[in-house]
């Protein structure tokens, strides 16, 4: 069974390795999130906003030309059509309602490429809550349009200037900010990472993805279960959402595409399961890229959303027990897959999602297998990267 236990572990991964200063906050969340999420009032508001504000259900689109090329029945789960351009908003809608119910007044968040930051700033504007987003100084420079989007939405963007000045450090800064403001502030973590209950809570908010895939596939194919689900994994929130209702359906293969950067062994990679070892990062035990001495290694990927040295503990567990098939996709192959989808289907995907698309070339499947690829985000934010890459 793939299921979180009472202490927040998936097998040997997970838990809540946090400084005592955060214990009251995390404990408050752990004690309340399940009952709040189960209440009719929460569900009505959450479902209502997903429908009318986010635009759910997102289509499950049969990609006929892509299917023809690869000799399988390929469906794209169109999370790229969500408001703000990616699946991230499913989680921020859920967490902001939760924060309101907990009586919190301020929201903080970390962001890498800025997608989660934008999704957080968006729901804060929607709910009239104060919003501060921590973002690495390096990412601020390379993701300028998203920084401005957050500011237009009324958020304050604070540069993280410590360490490597990217997502990992933005997460450190957000945790520090939470330690400094424990009473009135809720921290909206953007992925299935962090101390328990975050990984499970975020996965549940994202699980609407596989919930929809089930009934949509039933309508189209007369069956709820595809043969294969493919999703990209940085921290792994879109993958957790796409896999969630299939965790314990062994006939459905779960394929996780990690970012191999310039190559798994190039020293410029973010292929965590290929390169990582068990350790503790941002409050949970997981697999992470680190030196022999336990210092966290800076990852590399062309896609800022996959540029993270760890993975969510549930994914570490899927890897550990062999439930997930992990493939590593290099920058150049992801770019080619993104351009291929643009030409074949008229959809420019986020470069994160392009990693999932390329996985078609790395796995075995039978002719006429039904494959669902989670198209987690759209490529608008990546136009600069596509343009610089050329070759289209």
């Amino acid at each position: 069974m793939i299921k979180v236990d009472e202490k927040g572990f998936y097998g040997r991964f997970g838990g809540a390795y946090i400084p005592e200063m955060l214990h009251p906050n995390v404990e408050e969340l752990r004690e309340n999130y399940e009952s709040i999420m189960a209440s009719q009032e929460f569900q009505d508001e959450f479902r209502g906003l997903l429908k009318d504000y986010v635009g759910r259900p997102t289509p499950l689109y049969f990609a006929s030309r892509l299917s023809e090329k690869y000799g399988a029945k390929i469906y794209l789960k169109r999370e790229d059509l969500c408001h703000t351009g990616a699946h991230k908003v499913n989680n921020t809608i859920g967490q902001i309602i939760l924060a309101k119910k907990l009586g919190k007044k301020r929201i903080i968040a970390e962001t890498g490429a800025g997608q989660h930051g934008v999704a957080t700033a968006t729901v804060c504007a929607l709910m009239g809550m104060e919003c501060t987003v921590y973002m690495g100084e390096v990412d601020i420079a390379r993701q300028h349009p998203n920084v401005e989007r957050m500011k237009i939405l009324g958020a304050t963007v604070v540069p993280a200037t410590s360490g490597s000045k990217t997502l990992k450090d933005a997460t450190n800064e957000a945790m520090r900010a939470w330690i400094n403001n424990p009473v009135d502030t809720h921290y909206i973590i953007g992925s299935v990472v962090g101390p328990h209950p975050y990984p499970e809570m975020v996965a549940r908010f994202q699980s609407v993805i596989s919930e929809e895939i089930k009934w949509q596939l039933k309508e189209k194919e007369g069956r709820e279960n595809p043969d294969i689900v493919i999703a990209c994994v940085g921290g792994g929130s879109n993958a957790a959402g796409a896999f969630y209702h299939y965790y314990n359906t062994p006939e459905v293969r779960l394929v996780a595409a990690e970012a191999a950067g310039l190559g798994v062994s190039s020293g410029k990679s973010a292929a965590t399961t290929a390169l990582g070892t068990p350790g503790i990062l941002h409050g949970s035990k997981t697999i992470l890229m680190q030196t022999e001495d336990g210092q966290v290694v800076e990852p590399h990927s062309i896609s800022a959303g996959l540029d993270y040295p760890g993975i969510g503990p549930v994914h570490a567990h899927l890897f550990d027990v062999g439930r997930g098939e992990f493939v590593a996709v290099e920058d150049k192959d992801a770019m080619a897959a993104g351009i291929e989808l643009s030409k074949l289907e008229g959809i420019i995907p986020a470069i994160e999602s392009a990693h999932a698309l390329y996985a078609l070339n790395l796995i075995e499947y039978a002719k006429d297998d039904v494959i669902v690829i989670n198209l987690s985000g759209r490529g608008d934010k990546d136009l600069d990267t596509y343009i610089k890459w050329g070759k289209y």
């Binding site: 390795y17 005592e20 520090r176 941002h282 336990g294």
Partner: protein, 257 residues
Amino acid sequence: MNRIHKLFNTKKDRVLSIYFTAGFPKLEDTLPIMEAIQEGGADIIEIGVPYSDPVADGPTIQESNMVALENGISMKKLFAQLEGFRDKIQLPVVLMGYLNPIMQYGMEAFCKKCQEVGIDGLILPDLPMQQYLDEYKELFEQYGLVNTFLISPQTSESRIREIDEHSNGFIYMVSSHSITGAKAGISEEQIAYFKRVKAMGLQNPRLIGFGISDSETFSKASEYSNGAIIGSAFIKVLKNSKDLKQDIQAYLKEVLH
């Protein structure tokens, strides 16, 4: 008897613990700094084990961690530096560090090595009480290491009592809602918290840390506890020092006067 227990058996107030980061400002400064702290009259030496992602620490200690790592410090190198330090240092010495580097070294190997070189206790901010009880308590006891828990103004009375029950050296009272080095001075609100904890009559001694920087804050904290811990302010002294020994002793003299 563990040196921490021995200390608190004889000294009940104005206990001064000094934190510094191993391998900072220069790789080989670890031992000379320990000697200067001892000569300067402090009571406990707290050695920070550098980590790339110290989430409970503010900018000053983060920077010292980064510099120390760039200098080439590692767990192995630190233990090599500590080999034989008991010939010169009689004070209790505790290691303060994050779990991940220790896990990679191996928790049991780490505890064993601590005992071999003469470490008395550990402060691991990201090791929560429950995990300690479930996984590490026996190991720490087997190797004679005293574990120290933190409490903050947010910690509930029942949890403070639970922490007190499972502590056997001292309790580290984080002075405010903050990471290390965040605030200067002591507010009325903090004093109310110090008084509240003092009135609980805990079995373990309490040291107040975070935001203690000089004679005034040290004395103020000591009024409501058994003493205090200085970290960031001491790191700043090291960072700006041209003569470590002289500057450390001058600083400690000022704090303790």
